[in-house]
């Protein structure tokens, strides 16, 4: 234990220069918070795997991010928007063919083994690149990972890879796994996928299926004075009303990811001792979009799509569907992504007359019954907001003479209908912006994607100019030039409307006043909660 402390002190001396100005401040603030206590949190589902290196999704991160750590985490005022975790620095080469990571020293796995560059190399080559849902895209060109010493990992790529993309992807795609537990096993079936072993501030203790997950304090955590809590319990509460009742009754102290529905927020906010926190989801922005099937020849006409966009009152949607907990969208990149957001794109105003005019011009005059044509609308069942927006859209389009039939499906049926069978005219979807357009945003409009890929362009849209820009951006090393390409990307998407962006929203957290440091980083709900504390 003593040896560990000394090495940790050395580490702080050695890497102090690398720390950004904001970090010591955050540390001092965290140190003021009291230690100890058990935090009970609502969880609405139980992921089938708790391995964030294979399944990089919010459902897995929500629990596993406290146990398994990435190379870096998002941070509002950190350098490049990042706070170091298992890596203390990262640097890309001029030619974009390699990136060198320096790893934190003195970090141990929960079973006592030391963390080395071999773990990172193994995770990258054997897990992130071949197995992970997002890593398969981000690390497609990763050739080898060299490990000149125990704390240096050099990623070598077969084609130029923008450091900007890798940096933005770090918090999501780089959860490091212990090589000594995974090497030589069937990685997808390893028992550690259900009982993860990591380097994080909390150790995985037990899972009682259908009841709870229990995490306990990692006394050997590398962060000084961290974590604050002794224990975190994720209590499984599948019913939407259950989380609210359990908060009110004081049985749980926190419910994240809007588990308390928006309609209950106003009432809950008035309960003494409870607070509603909207921060902590800035890097997890969900986008409300209208997906369009361009195989329908009416919708293949740009004027019709523009008319659709003009027919939607985005402010009304924000106020009524989201009760104000959202922002009207202007384009495919959300406004809270300052690195990429292009403020110059011209948003579509709510303009019924303009919409009517465009539809007339496109050659679809109103018939005798006042209707121009009919469309089949499939609202995604993922959120109550996506379903409610479907109801609104039906009415809004009815006002400009478009007869809309709603087709409601459950999740698997919806995914099959839209992304495999293309059996829709318009659909309501909710893609996620994951910090960089190349991760899960450009795929929404790019052509040439095979059938069956979820949350991608399955509407048959093809625009050669847009495809070229997207391809260029994936190999443009220069950050400025790359950002400029994405500015063009946004301009073209807004002009040509392969899909219509309506609103963008984060989630809300409801917590007891006793829970401290809630929402203090842009991926808070899926970050490690090392500084989360309970006041006495």
């Amino acid at each position: 234990m003593t040896g560990f402390l000394i090495s940790r002190r050395n580490l702080f001396l050695g890497t102090g220069a690398l720390m950004t100005a904001a970090l010591p401040m955050a540390r001092a603030w965290a140190e003021d918070a009291p230690r100890g206590g058990r935090l009970v949190v609502a969880a609405d589902s139980e992921p089938r795997s708790l391995n964030p290196a294979i399944v990089a999704s919010n459902g897995v991160f929500f629990i596993a991010s406290k146990v398994v750590e990435p190379l870096a985490e998002a941070m509002l005022d950190g350098e490049g928007g990042l706070a170091p975790r298992l890596a203390t620095s990262w640097e890309g080469s001029e030619d974009g063919l390699s990136i060198t990571f320096k790893l934190r020293e003195g970090v141990t796995w929960h079973d006592g083994e030391p963390l080395t560059s071999a773990d990172v190399a193994f995770s990258a080559m054997e897990v992130w690149k071949p197995l992970q849902n997002l890593g398969r895209v981000v690390f497609a060109n990763l050739d080898t990972v060299e490990t000149p010493d125990a704390h240096t990992a050099i990623f070598r790529f077969s084609a130029p890879t923008p450091i900007q993309l890798i940096r933005n992807a770090l918090p999501v795609v780089t959860s490091v796994l212990p090589k000594h537990l995974y090497e030589g096993t069937d990685i997808a079936a390893n028992p550690a996928n259900k009982a993860p072993v990591g380097t994080g501030p909390f150790k995985f203790a037990e899972h009682r299926p259908g009841e709870y997950y229990r995490l306990t304090r990692n006394d050997a955590y590398w962060g000084e004075g961290l974590p604050k809590l002794d224990e975190i319990i994720f209590r499984v509460l599948p019913d939407r009303a259950a989380a609210g009742s359990a908060l009110e009754a004081g049985e749980i102290q926190l419910a994240a990811f809007s588990q308390v529905p928006l309609v209950d927020l106003e009432r809950i906010a008035k309960v003494p001792g409870l607070k509603v926190v909207t921060e902590g989801y800035e890097a997890l922005t969900y986008q409300l979009v209208v997906e369009i099937n361009h195989r329908n020849e009416i919708l293949a006409d740009r004027k019709v799509r523009q008319a659709l966009s003009h027919a939607i009152d985005r402010d009304f949607v924000v106020d009524t569907v989201f009760l104000g907990y959202a922002q009207a969208a202007t384009g495919p990149v959300p406004q809270n992504a300052p690195q990429f957001y292009n403020p110059d794109v011209k948003p579509y105003s709510f303009d019924i007359e303009g919409a009517n005019r465009l539809l007339d011009e496109a050659g679809y005059p109103r018939g005798e019954d006042g209707k121009r044509f009919s469309l089949r609308l499939l609202p995604a069942p993922f959120f109550s907001e996506t379903r409610q927006f479907g109801d609104y859209l039906r009415q809004a389009l009815g006002k400009v003479g478009i007869d809309v039939t709603l087709v409601n499906n459950d999740t698997p049926a919806h995914l099959k209908a839209v992304y495999t069978d293309h059996d829709f005219d318009i659909a309501v979807g909710s893609p996620v912006f994951r910090g960089d357009p190349a991760i899960s945003t450009t795929i929404l409009v790019q052509s040439g994607i095979p059938d069956g890929v979820p949350f991608s362009n399955q509407g048959g849209y093809a625009n050669a100019e847009l495809d070229t820009i997207i391809d260029q951006a994936t190999e443009t090393i220069d950050t400025e030039a790359r950002t400029a390409l994405y500015n063009d990307f946004q301009r073209i998407v807004v002009e040509d409307l392969p899909l219509i962006n309506v609103a963008e929203w984060g989630f809300t957290t409801v917590a007891s006043d006793t829970v401290l440091n809630v929402g203090n980083n842009p991926r808070w709900a899926v970050s490690n909660w090392a500084d989360t504390a309970l006041s006495r």
Binding site: R208, E211, K416, V453
Partner: protein
């Protein structure tokens, strides 16, 4: 006793084709539902490329034809292997063994509540058919029967858990409490009080009305008339003559209700976050998990068949007229 054994044997033989139909039917129904287990999983995955989707389908065995999958499944089933749940990535048997006891406790307690309180109130109502008590109880029970169980559950939570804090809002026992023995039993009973009430009160109405109807009919029977003519006390007539004869159909009802309650537990288990069988069935359907759903349905079918068998045996023991025809000479 010999009669009961014969009946049991006959029932088991006749239930085999029923089970086969249930298995094939479940498989076909899930196949007919649009989207498969991979589609269901993709949402929680948040996306992936074409290769990942194909690999998942292959690892789930979904790239094979339905006939092949059904043959494999039935083949494994004959070796008493219930298969592997794709949605939970665990053996189906483990999941069922884990969840079934919770549901049995819930259903058992709710049935006991509905049956005992229902028949008791039915006796009160049927003692004087047409009286004010009778009318009040009948209308009250009808109103209760019309209430959806999830709504009753939510109201019970708001009143008794959130406002009064007499009972916990959800769960089967205090989390990570480390309680054992009697303390644990008491803890589980305390947690089950509200869900059992939500489920039991709804079915109570059925037993009440059936008891009352049976008693109203019994009052018109000759043996009641003769009992009254003999000058027996009213209380004795009500309990020993009228109620006793009206009780028999309730036993039949008990068997039928077992199946209905298994369905009702889906909702109540979700509202109260009880890791039970009903919730598991719900998760199996939304995950398009054919092996799990089929496993659940098989176990449920066996359960219902067993309960009905027990009811029939009880019936045969209670009423000598029943079952005599089934005894082969």
């Amino acid at each position: 006793m010999h009669r009961a054994l014969t009946m049991t044997r006959r029932r088991i033989v006749s239930s085999i084709p029923v089970l086969l139909i249930v298995i094939v039917g479940t498989f076909l129904l899930l196949e007919a539902a649009p989207g498969d287990a991979v589609d269901a999983y993709l949402l929680s995955l948040g996306g992936g490329d074409a290769g990942l989707v194909a690999e998942l389908r292959q690892s789930y065995g979904l790239d094979q034809s339905i006939v092949k999958r059904l043959t494999l499944y039935v083949g494994a089933l004959l070796q008493l292997d219930l298969g592997w749940s794709v949605a939970f990535d665990r053996p189906v048997l483990d999941l069922i063994v884990e969840r079934l006891p919770n549901t049995l406790w819930l259903m058992g307690a709710a049935t006991a509540l509905a049956f005992s309180l229902g028949s008791l109130l039915g006796i009160v109502a049927g003692a004087r058919p047409g009286s004010l008590t009778d009318r009040t109880l009948s209308i009250g029970s009808l109103a209760l029967y019309a209430v959806p169980s999830f709504w009753l559950g939510l109201v019970l939570v708001l009143v008794f858990a959130v406002d009064l804090r007499w009972f916990p809002t959800a769960g089967i026992e205090t989390i990570a409490s480390g309680k054992t023995g009697l303390a644990r039993v008491a803890d589980i009973a305390w947690h089950l009080a509200l869900p059992v009430s939500a489920l039991g009160f709804i079915y109570l109405a059925l037993f009440l009305r059936m008891m009352r109807a049976g008693m109203a009919e019994a009052w018109r029977q000759d043996f009641v008339l003769s009992a009254r003519a003999k000058g027996l006390a009213r209380r004795r007539i009500v309990l020993r003559y009228v109620a006793r004869n009206a009780l028999l159909p309730l036993v039949t009802m008990l068997g039928l209700q077992a199946a209905a309650m298994l369905g009702g537990s889906v909702v109540v288990e979700s509202v109260f976050a009880i890791p039970g069988f009903g919730r598991l069935a719900h998760e199996a359907v939304s995950g398009r998990d054919a092996p799990l759903l089929t496993g659940i349905i098989i176990v449920s079918a066996v359960l219902v068949i067993a309960v009905n068998l027990l009811v029939d045996i009880a019936y045969a023991l209670l009423d000598p007229r029943v079952g005599s025809g089934e005894v082969a000479p």
